[in-house]
């Protein structure tokens, strides 16, 4: 019945992709679905949901890419999503992607899938890499031993993908009902039997889940699963007995149930591997290419310089290559504005109408697109580092340092991405398994100077510090980093006392990234930025235009406009920081909506283009006030898109309010310190 429903609902076969991280799952997903995919979120949680469609022999197939996990133990949100989807949504087929080079650990997930009674087809991926390492994996043998189809594939070259789909379609027709049974040893089996018969008596559970699978999970005390189940008497009774069962088993085996289960599963797997994997003896101890790269990249003396060099290269790549492109886009939109303006004029549009189209609409779209080059390039570089396997090494190399700051090696990646845009950076914290690590990384992430703040620096540096452009901008980036470290340590010390995280992380083999997957990766992230931030930025530019031209009859962006009134109201607060003018305050207020809007707002207020803006600011501001203003822009309240991301990822309005509050106080405090100390030193 249920299977019928799932097929009917989507009008085709529903296939879930499951596999370890680094097993080539994303590549396979891209090969299968091409451009017919969309990214969203799983209902209720923050884990990314990718779905795609494909057609085979005229038949539609819906493909759901489950999060990459090592296990279905459901310790992390990712795992819970993957497991719940398989257990509750019952896809017709689960394609389990296995890295042929690393078969034992990959099979752990397979065993769990089979124990659940899922209808599994194995894609034995990277078979070429295994061959290059002189390792032969016998697919037919594995298929016979497990009783499920096994298809050798090389997803990066699209080898075996067609055969895989054929097997999936065939498997969807004939359902496998028997769940895999691992022998957990005499005492454990006896207890399992007792639990199973109890479950079978309370038939509500029996219908939906494989009783044996449920029994094993009950014994290992998997509370996340139990929380997801309907509250019923059988379950409650079993929960009461669970502790007793576990204690008895611990005594019988001299180890806890979790260890026994993991050990037996791996025991089963190593038996499989012995039958299936043939290694050529002579190469057993030979250094692989990956090992040789690692010897250099994680070398005691070279590791850090290489890391710094790569980060520097990434920045050069992003900004040196991106800046000329930004100029092209600016030129294009200037031309569009002029052309559109004269077109409107000749059509007899009013001055207000013309201004709305040129400054509001065209200017708005331009201010979104102007970010694209830097963001595309940054995400291209990050995707390249990730797909090549270096990102894991970066976390490995940096963990000691990050750990001493109360963070995790993996926090480094989101922090780095924060230089591009805090929105995807905050999304990238999902790789952190420990909740506290993740929360701290999210909270301090907005302190990393994102690329949207750069236009503000460029404007003020152009007006006052053109001789020291690089140095001044660098000092602001450094200030952001120092503040992030300081605040992070403060939070760790006072908010999350005594919390420990762990660093049990795979260092995947180095691989040459494929251009296709790097581009898809880059595009996914960049387009999510455009969608999330773009609409807001565009809307804000329009809103500012409206506010600066209302109430009706006021001169554009004068102190009598709504914009001016808001600015005047807030201005006194910033007097101690040296920028107590209503213009500055109005710009800051609107900067909350998106940081680079500070520039746009100032432009509208002063009623000039960017070149003219530099001159006006040079005339009306002091260098010290300008620097204090830049510090404020760097630190104060994250932009709305970032606030939205924080809310989504922390799933708490409390933490979101906290992020907004602390950064506002910090920004104001630092700006005041800069201005007051600077004045004392006679820099004013």
């Amino acid at each position: 019945m249920e299977e019928m429903q799932s097929q009917q609902a989507s009008g085709g076969i529903v296939v879930a992709l499951a596999g370890n991280p680094n097993s080539g799952k994303t590549t396979l997903f891209n090969e299968l679905t091409g451009s017919r995919q969309h990214v969203g979120n799983w209902p209720g949680v923050t884990v990314e949901k990718k779905e795609g469609r494909m057609f085979f022999a005229g038949q539609p197939i819906q493909i759901v890419d489950l999060p990459g996990t090592y296990s279905l133990g459901a310790y992390s949100e990712d795992e819970a999503v993957a497991r719940n989807y398989i257990v509750f949504d019952k896809p017709d087929v689960v394609v389990n992607i296995i890295d042929a080079v690393n078969i034992e650990r990959n099979l752990y997930l397979t065993v769990q899938l089979l124990e659940m009674g899922a209808n599994v087809v194995i894609a034995l991926n990277m078979i070429d890499e295994a061959q290059a390492r002189q390792v032969e994996v016998r697919a037919e043998k594995l298929s016979t031993l497990l009783g499920i189809p096994v298809v050798p594939t090389v997803a990066t070259k699209n080898h075996g993908v067609k055969e895989l789909i054929e097997q999936v379609v065939a498997a969807a027709k004939c359902k496998k009902n028997e769940a895999l049974r691992i022998n957990y040893g005499r005492e454990m089996e006896a207890v399992l039997e007792a639990v199973i018969s109890e479950i079978k008596r309370g038939n509500a559970l029996n219908e939906r889940f494989d009783p044996r699978w449920l029994a094993v999970n009950l014994l290992t005390g998997d509370l996340k699963l139990i929380e997801g189940l309907v509250n019923n008497d059988t379950l409650n009774r079993l929960l009461l007995k669970q502790r007793e069962y576990a204690k008895n088993l611990e005594q019988a085996y001299g180890d806890d149930v979790e260890t026994i289960v993991a050990e037996k599963r791996y025991g089963f797997i190593s038996g499989l591997a012995k039958e299936v994997v043939v290694k050529r003896q002579s190469v057993a101890d030979r250094l692989t290419m990956s090992d040789r790269i690692d010897k250099i990249v994680t070398n005691r003396y070279l590791g850090i310089p290489i890391f710094l060099l790569l980060m520097w290269a990434m920045f050069q790549f992003t900004f040196t290559l991106g800046d000329p492109m930004i100029e092209w886009i600016e030129t294009l939109f200037e031309w569009l504005g002029e052309a559109g303006g004269s077109l409107l004029e000749s059509a007899g549009a009013s001055e207000l109408m013309k201004s709305f189209f040129v400054d509001g609409l065209i200017g708005g779209i331009g201010s979104v697109l102007v970010f694209m080059p830097n963001i595309l390039l940054l995400f291209f570089a990050i995707s390249l580092l990730e797909d090549s396997g270096y990102m894991a090494r970066a976390a490995y190399v940096m963990d000691r340092f990050m750990h001493s700051l109360g963070l995790h090696g993996k926090s480094f990646i989101p922090m780095l991405m924060g230089f591009g845009c805090n929105v995807p950076a905050i999304m990238a914290t999902r790789t952190l398994e420990n909740k506290q690590d993740r929360l701290i990384t999210i909270l301090i992430n907005p302190l990393m100077s994102c690329s949207a703040r750069l236009p503000v620096y460029v404007l003020f540096v152009g007006a006052f510090f053109s001789a020291y452009e690089g140095l001044v901008i660098f000092s602001l980036y450094m200030l952001g980093i120092v503040m992030a470290i300081f605040i992070g340590m403060l939070f760790k010390r006072f908010l999350f006392k005594g919390e420990t995280s762990h660093f049990v992380m795979e260092l995947p083999p180095y691989r040459i990234p494929t251009l296709k997957s790097t581009f898809i990766h880059m595009w996914e992230r960049s387009s999510s930025f455009i969608r999330k931030a773009g609409t807001i930025i565009f809307a804000v530019v329009v809103v500012i235009w409206v506010l600066s031209n209302l109430p009706a009859g006021v001169e554009t962006a004068s102190s009598e406009s709504y914009l001016g009134q808001i600015g005047s109201l807030v201005a006194p607060v910033f007097a101690p920081a040296g920028f107590g003018s209503w213009e500055a305050s109005a710009a800051l207020v609107f900067g909350i909506l998106a940081k680079e809007v500070v520039v746009g707002t100032l432009g509208i207020i002063y009623g000039v283009e960017e070149a003219g803006l530099t001159k006006i600011i040079a005339a009306q501001w002091t260098p010290l006030a300008a620097y204090a203003f830049m510090v404020m822009t760097l630190l104060y309240i994250p932009c709305v898109a970032t606030i939205g991301a924080i809310k989504r990822e922390t799933n708490s309005w409390g933490w979101t309010a906290f992020a907004v509050g602390y950064s506002l106080i910090l920004g104001w405090l630092m700006a005041v310190i800069v201005y007051q100390v600077g004045s004392l030193l006679g820099l004013g």
């Binding site: 204690k247 611990e250 260890t259 690692d294 003396y301 190399v397 398994e433 762990h502 049990v504 260092l507």
Partner: protein
């Protein structure tokens, strides 16, 4: 034979070691336990915390570790089992004393109460031990004279099988995982990633700042912080 439930083999080893070191003193220092078992102090601390939770030892903040009455009873039982098993292996089966010692160390944790009762009966019947169950001395066991003090020179546990904590291995060294004493989420993650007893592990390297470490396990590379590796005990392969 009443047992306190939920004491794992490693906990039993700790109890035995504490009992042995306590002899004639008020308590034992963590440092001494660590030295005796040749494992990291951090790991000992963690184990002691667990024993405290189960009411088997007492310790005022950073003071000496003292066995509670229940703890002492448990430790004595394990010791008795060890002694009887060893005696049986050497004197009845004629096993080499060194091998017998090692085997007794492992068997003492898993032998069922029933087997132990039969074995005790057998030993009494054949006059190997006193009828009240106390272990008699024999020529093979020099220095045994005085009840059950110093009946062995080394801590049973971890040391008797050349055990080291994983973080103590040098780069390039290999070992077989014997026990994972980490707790909670880390433990689960390690087990899932294949850090299970019986698995071979090779130390591949140490990160530039000296932490974390990189290992090869089940044909792939895994990194662990030193503190995490300290909770994995291995038998070093020489």
């Amino acid at each position: 034979m009443t047992e306190v439930a939920g004491i794992t083999a490693s906990m039993q080893d700790y109890l035995e070691t504490i009992l042995e070191l306590t002899d004639g003193q008020d308590g034992v220092r963590i440092t001494d336990i660590a030295a005796k078992l040749n494992i990291a102090k951090a790991s000992v601390n963690q184990a002691i915390a667990k024993l405290k939770e189960q009411g088997l030892v007492r310790q005022n903040s950073y003071g000496p570790v003292i066995l509670t009455d229940i703890g002492r009873e448990q430790a004595a039982k394990v010791r008795q089992r060890h002694h009887k098993l060893r005696k049986f292996l050497i004197e009845v089966l004629g096993v080499n004393p060194k091998v017998a010692e090692k085997d007794a160390c492992l068997m003492e944790h898993v032998v069922s109460p029933e087997t132990m009762a039969r074995l005790t009966e057998y030993l009494i019947e054949h006059g190997k031990i006193e009828s009240n169950g106390d272990v008699k001395c024999s020529q093979q066991e020099a220095g045994c004279g005085n009840a059950n003090i110093n009946y062995r020179k080394e801590g049973c546990a971890l040391k008797s099988v050349q055990t080291k904590a994983l973080n103590e291995l040098q780069v390039g060294a290999k070992g077989i995982i014997i026990r994972v004493v980490a707790q909670g989420a880390v433990r689960r993650r390690m087990l899932e990633m294949g850090v299970t007893p019986g698995t071979e592990v090779t130390v591949k390297g140490v990160a530039p700042f000296g932490d974390p470490m990189e290992f090869v396990i089940k044909g792939y590379n895994l990194s662990l912080r030193k503190a995490e590796a300290a909770d994995v005990f291995v038998e070093e392969l020489l």
